[in-house]
């Protein structure tokens, strides 16, 4: 589908609206009762718009513009930022995610990652993947940390940073691989590993591969050791690729 902003005014002089299905990524307080809402739209990609009066109990928006909500929203072009003109709920994920602290911290890293990756990339694959990950978190299909790990690996893949865990990234051998070199983007075999490359258990590599492919039968039965080791590898790889610290990962480690 063609992605373009609607014209600023129609023939009869009314300001024209544009409409999109969108996921609320984050919000910032603005002035006394407004918020700036950052959304990922299915067609328009990243949208930043002001929701007027949203912090007042009488607001027509209710809780529909809270993080993790999926809405069908109308926007009006504004001078600097666009204005949210209306929003209807498509998926009410905020409540089930925020009522469970582990879901909440995982959800934060997911939307923070989506927010950063979609600055450059508007493809609607990001929208579809994010929708699936938040839905899985909200329903409690899998352990939140696994949903987060799988989301990050697959979102990086969409952005062109697919890691490799089933063979050596340097020579292609499938065994023996027992190291992960973050800067090379995946597993390396014993011969290719330079001194100082961290060793990784085979079960961790198997879990990383399962998370990358979305193979939940393997992921759901993984050990807590493999989960902890893969979570730190995924966090390190994400922050290496993005060349920045991810605030929500640092905070999530406080527990």
């Amino acid at each position: 589908m063609q992605r373009r902003r609607a014209q600023t005014a129609s023939d009869n002089g009314n300001m024209q609206l544009y409409e999109d299905a969108a996921i609320v990524l984050r919000t910032h307080k603005l002035g006394e009762a407004d918020r700036i809402i950052t959304l990922l739209g299915r067609e328009y990609g990243k949208i930043r718009a002001v929701a007027k009066g949203v912090r007042k109990p009488t607001s027509k928006f209710g809780g529909r513009l809270e993080p993790f909500m999926v809405v069908n929203a109308q926007f009006r072009h504004g001078r600097s930022l666009d204005i949210v003109a209306g929003a209807e709920t498509l998926r009410a994920y905020s409540d089930p995610i925020s009522r469970d602290y582990n879901r909440y911290t995982a959800g934060n890293t997911i939307v923070e990652t989506a927010d950063i990756l979609t600055n450059a990339d508007r493809g609607n694959d990001h929208y579809t993947l994010l929708l699936g990950a938040l839905g899985s978190l909200a329903r409690g299909d899998h352990t939140p940390e696994l949903v987060r790990g799988s989301y990050i690996l697959r979102a990086l893949t969409i952005a062109g940073w697919q890691p490799i865990f089933d063979r050596c990234v340097r020579c292609g051998r499938t065994e023996p691989i027992s190291h992960v070199a973050i800067a090379l983007g995946g597993a390396v075999c014993d011969d290719c590993a330079v001194p100082g490359t961290p060793k990784v258990e085979a079960e961790t590599l198997a879990l990383l591969q399962a998370l990358l492919l979305g193979d939940w039968s393997v992921a759901d039965t993984s050990t807590s050791f493999a989960r902890a080791e893969s979570a730190s590898i995924i966090a390190a790889y994400l922050q290496f690729v993005l060349e920045r610290r991810i605030s929500s990962i640092t905070v999530g480690n406080q527990a």
Partner: protein, 198 residues
Amino acid sequence: MYEGVIQTLIDELGRFPGIGPKSAQRIAFFVVQDAKYDPSTLAGLLATIRETIHYCITCGNLTENEQCSICSDPRRDHSTICVVEEAKDVAAIERTREYDGVYHVLGGVINPMNGVGPEQLNLKTLIKRLGDETVTEVILATNSTVEGEATSSYLSRMIQPIGVTVTRLASGLPVGADLEYADEITLGRAFSGRRNVE
């Protein structure tokens, strides 16, 4: 634009929240022109307020003393602690006259994307207060936003093992709204209808 010091005054007033350029101009001209108004009281307060006001050592509320007037009041029910995000929420709840317990002010909410986690909140003193056996109930009165709900879920997970009853304000407060904007009747109802957290 006005000349010199009057424009400086307008600019300074315009830095306050909720004061736009028009209001700043009106206030500036009022201060300059109204002979009956004595600006020295306000000037004195502004000059010293930051030295005068502290965080209460017990609850984190704003006070002129070491301990706030609510914490030091023996007529308040010290077995019930109401946890709020900000000092302005204490004022909003006090206006309802529905609550006679004490408070604990977190100084924010857990917001991982903004780098705010449990360690950045006023939690150490809360845990210390709960260790003392007088406290039997903690009411979680954070805003009904995603960050407020998540902070409540973190707190209930932290407090329940201590053996203190944890309750949450009843729904009726619209989701997404700030507590400080709720009217007294709605907020009062939310208090009397508070429910146990499972």
